[in-house]
Assembly symmetry: C2
Homo-oligomer: 112 residues x 2
């Protein structure tokens, strides 16, 4: 089984962590949030979605969460971030931030 805790994170894993950073969500709700947050640039097919969630579960990045309301659709399985999931997200954000900072200097610096 692949290790989902290595940096750089695979894009789907990063986006799922990001989608869960604000609220517990169920599978398809995560996919919707990822697409919305990325302005349509990133989409998750069901294969990638559920497989990633399985791996993230095994890696201790996500855990089950109770439904947000009493009369929620019982088919939905809600996930939340664990402490290590949030820590991993922070680490990846820090890495990407350094990368973007470097890239911004370079693309702007060419105007001389």
């Amino acid at each position: 089984m692949p290790d989902t805790t290595d940096l750089p994170l695979r894009p789907p894993v990063f986006h799922i962590l990001l989608a869960l950073s604000t609220a517990a969500r169920h599978g398809l709700g995560i996919a919707d949030e990822v697409e919305a947050a990325s302005e349509g640039a990133v989409t998750l097919g069901p294969g990638t979605l559920y497989r990633s969630l399985d791996e993230m579960w095994d890696g201790g990045l996500v855990a089950p969460a109770s439904p947000p309301s009493e009369d929620a659709d019982p088919r939905r399985k809600y996930y939340r971030l664990t402490e290590s999931g949030r820590a991993l997200l922070e680490a990846e954000v820090a890495r990407l931030e350094r990368l973007v900072d470097l890239a911004k200097v370079r693309v702007a610096g060419e105007r001389a």
Copy 2:
């Protein structure tokens, strides 16, 4: 042949564009620069490197450049960014910047 001009860029293509943003470089020089700029987090094997360069050539993102000095190793093939290559890099940087900004708000916002 895959289209290398779609956003999100595949990570190797993004890193190669970034490596060429400051100077014309040859194949292995690009790989070295990518590893250095990412603090060792990103490495490019020869397969990915030369295949990506071929596709980027076909896509008009990179073009041949003259060696930086007269007595350079003649085996080295130097590449430089084209205008569209630089434009594509800027677009991807902008996308990543929005993503990182969003992520920073979310990971910081949880401390309430």
